[in-house]
Symmetry: C2
Subunit: 136 residues, 2 copies
DNA sequence: TATTGTTATACTCTATAACTATA
DNA sequence: TATAGTTATAGAGTATAACAATA
């Protein structure tokens, strides 16, 4: 069967992201985490006290969608909100959040290593810079 | 602000795919098409008479989700179902479907050219083979 | 007046289980 | 018995508009 779609980098990008995302989601799911959860934990660990808006901007999640997102992370005990002034709150990891992050890192680092190993050696070092150029 | 996520190809893959997908979706939307619609039209043009199951397998869409998908394409007059035997139908483009495909191709080819142009020259030829290795 | 956080809502995409009619 | 198509449903992700409280 002919597949003219294979010539399109944009199409391959979408399919590759979906395939990789499905694998990572399944593995993080065993930790009770979604991809965005793990990304948030990593970002908050490196930047304690980020506001919801700034965290959302970094993750590509809109303010309005950050509310139920952070509510869930707070309910599960991974983050806490600490008031900065009357309208702004800094988000901080809890001890439980840091513990779960340790597990998540193991999963992610294994996943990323497997992912890059799937790429033929001659293309391997080009993948990350090429992808970053597409959105950064 | 530190962003440790930028070291992860898997994360960059997801963000790049989302960014690129948002642009393409908006442009195809002006033609009344979604990304999967355009992919289906291209695939059906190259392979007339594909069954729903085989088309879905090629597009990475599950059988159950093909039903409302093809119903919509049929309602909009882009495809028709031609019975093969009592339980199987071949999907074919209509004249209207082929006409819309012509417009979609223009949009997609422009988009793909812009996308690849965003990648620094030294990485450019590596992107497609690297992405195909991740899901093909 | 602009910004932060919020509420409500809706649409798309994807996933699963179960049913039917037919091969 | 296996397969093609279908139905129903639920979960995730994402988008917009509008509001209150505060800077």
């Amino acid at each position: 069967m002919k597949d003219p779609l294979l010539e399109f980098p944009g199409y391959a990008l979408r399919r590759a992201a979906n395939a990789a995302g499905a694998i990572l989601s399944e593995r993080l799911g065993e930790l009770g985490l979604r991809q965005a959860d793990a990304s948030a934990l990593i970002l908050l660990d490196a930047n304690p006290g980020l506001t919801s808006s700034r965290l959302g901007a970094a993750l590509g999640i809109q303010r309005a969608n950050m509310v139920p997102f952070l509510n869930r992370l707070e309910t599960e005990g991974f983050v806490e909100r600490v008031p900065i002034d009357g309208r702004t709150q800094g988000i901080h990891l809890t001890d439980q959040g840091r513990a779960r992050l340790t597990d998540a890192r193991r999963v992610i680092e294994t996943f990323e290593a497997e992912l890059i190993a799937m790429v033929p050696r001659e293309h391997r070092t080009h993948l990350l810079p090429a992808l970053l150029a597409l959105w950064k």
